[in-house]
């Protein structure tokens, strides 16, 4: 009984909380009044038509918008209850805890090994060579890539196929032991087989990480995520269990979008 109670509280643990989050670019409002709780160790999909603000919102969660000139973020984003926009928070440390995988695979122009080893090195997570090797191997294994590359770890990361490069980027994100991984359309540049591999991988790693994923494929959101949030014209229209959003959404705008009536 004790265990069950613990489990059920674990299930509903909130990792990230957005409160009245608004974003504007040089005065142009991109996102307004977003309230959402991101559940720990679940996959949350952000869906919506182009320009709806979903990627903007994703980028607020590890302060990627900081580097964009004229970008202003209002409201609060709490990671484990602490505001990540607090002046005391070091964005570099934040981005170790909240990693990111981008739309197009972007390995560094370095070897496969160095791509994964880079993060742990700069964050001082490994003192000795064998510790680093252990992290690299473990990360590549978790990203489902190790067996394919173990004999050529010194080959350039860019020599891999698109799907392998994306898994390398996931291994790179995993290597610094993040708590949250943000994914911005991680499969949009990949073929269906490579996409299926990434989806399978996301399903495996969600046991360890909280994943927030922007996707244009509603089928992908339906397959991969447990929670879905629908954005439209800079507003968070509806959020909830993925199954509900796709089979029986409450808001007519969500219904119109998921059934292919607005784009």
């Amino acid at each position: 009984m004790q265990n069950e109670t613990e489990k059920s509280t674990e299930k509903t643990a909130i990792k990230i909380q957005a409160k009245n989050v608004g974003v504007s670019y040089s005065g142009m409002v991109a996102l307004k009044d977003v309230q959402i709780d991101i559940t720990e160790r679940k996959v949350t999909a952000l869906i919506g038509p182009s320009g709806c603000g979903k990627t903007t919102f994703l980028r607020t969660m590890n302060r990627m918008n900081d580097i964009i000139e004229g970008c202003e973020v209002t409201g609060e984003i709490l990671l484990d209850g602490e505001d990540i926009y607090d002046t005391q928070v070091d964005p570099v440390v934040l981005r170790r805890r909240v990693g990111m995988v981008f739309q197009k695979p972007n390995p560094f122009p370095k070897s496969i090994f160095d791509n994964v080893a880079y993060g742990p090195k700069i964050h001082g997570l490994a003192d000795k060579k064998d510790e680093l090797e252990y992290i690299v191997e473990k990360s590549l294994k978790r990203a489902g890539l190790f067996d394919e590359v173990k004999d050529r770890l010194n080959a350039p990361g860019t020599s891999l196929s698109g799907g392998q490069q994306q898994r390398l980027c996931i291994a790179r994100a995993i290597a610094v032991s993040p708590e949250v991984i943000l994914m911005d359309e991680p499969c949009s540049a990949l073929d269906p087989i490579a996409t299926a591999r990434i989806e399978e991988l996301i399903d495996e790693i969600k046991e360890r990480y909280t994943i927030v994923m922007v996707t244009h494929s509603m089928q992908q959101a339906a397959r991969v995520s447990q929670q879905t949030a629908f954005f439209h014209l800079g507003e968070l229209v509806e959020q909830g269990e993925t199954e509900t959003i796709f089979t029986n959404p409450r808001d007519p705008r969500t219904e119109a979008y998921v059934t292919g009536r607005i784009g």
Partner: protein, 241 residues
């Protein structure tokens, strides 16, 4: 749903699917009316035409299943579209079963057509058949108008059909035990009223699907079952054994 899909062909395919369901349901509605008529009026030749009509119903089930499968594969439907298509698959299956029961009534009508008319039961059977026919009609109306309240009314009506079934069952059983010469026709009549009752049950299944399409929720299934024919026995039987 007022707005159209971005892909026009999708709208057309969904409209085709809905049209096929209504058409198939209409066939079963008229088949039931004809089957009761040929039974009551002793028209074995016309009964053959009713039996033949079932083939068309079977073909429509296949057409609906193929179109729904195609829509699932090509359009990857979501929301109300998904409910609509999944419901169409189930509804076509239910309507096909209704057609089989209608056909069976017509077959039995031929078998007992040369036997004496059971005038005493024909009025009740006609009334029961008409009740179920109206249920089918209202179900199709509810489907066309996306009217979940009408669907619920149909589900309620099935209780009256169940009540008539129980009383007819009792009545026929009584005739049979009073006059064993009528055993053949009475047995067939028992099956016939059971068939009508089953058609009513399948009609409520259709109404439940319509409720689901419109609301996204399942009908609360705690309604009272009025079909008590399973408990009916003729008093005094077996005493001489």
């Amino acid at each position: 749903m007022a707005a159209s899909h971005i892909v026009k062909a999708y709208d057309e395919e969904l409209a085709d699917l809905n049209r096929l369901i209504v058409e198939m349901g209409g066939l079963v509605e008229s088949q039931l009316a004809s089957a009761i008529e040929v039974l009551i009026k002793h028209m074995p030749e016309e009964a053959k035409a009713v039996i033949k009509q079932d083939k068309k119903i079977d073909e429509m089930e296949i057409a609906i299943d193929q179109l729904a499968t195609r829509l699932l594969a090509l359009r990857q439907p979501m929301g109300e579209d998904l409910r609509n298509i999944v419901a169409a698959l189930k509804m076509s299956n239910n309507i096909e079963r209704m057609g089989d029961y209608g056909k069976n009534i017509a077959k039995r009508a031929i078998t007992i057509s040369h036997l004496p008319i059971l005038n005493k039961t024909s009025a009740s059977i006609e009334r029961m058949g008409e009740m179920v026919r109206i249920m089918i009609r209202e179900t199709l109306d509810a489907y066309i108008r996306k009217d979940k309240d009408l669907a619920l009314e149909v589900i309620e009506k099935d209780q009256q059909v169940d009540q008539i079934h129980t009383s007819l069952f009792r009545e026929i059983l009584t005739y049979m035990s009073a006059n064993p010469d009528t055993a053949t026709s009475c047995t067939h009549l028992l099956f016939i009223v059971k068939n009508i009752e089953r058609i009513g049950d399948h009609t409520t299944n259709l109404a439940e699907q319509i409720y689901y399409i419109v609301s996204g929720e399942l009908v609360n299934e705690d309604r009272v079952k009025e079909d008590k024919s399973a408990y009916v026995a003729v008093e005094g039987e077996g005493k001489n054994n």
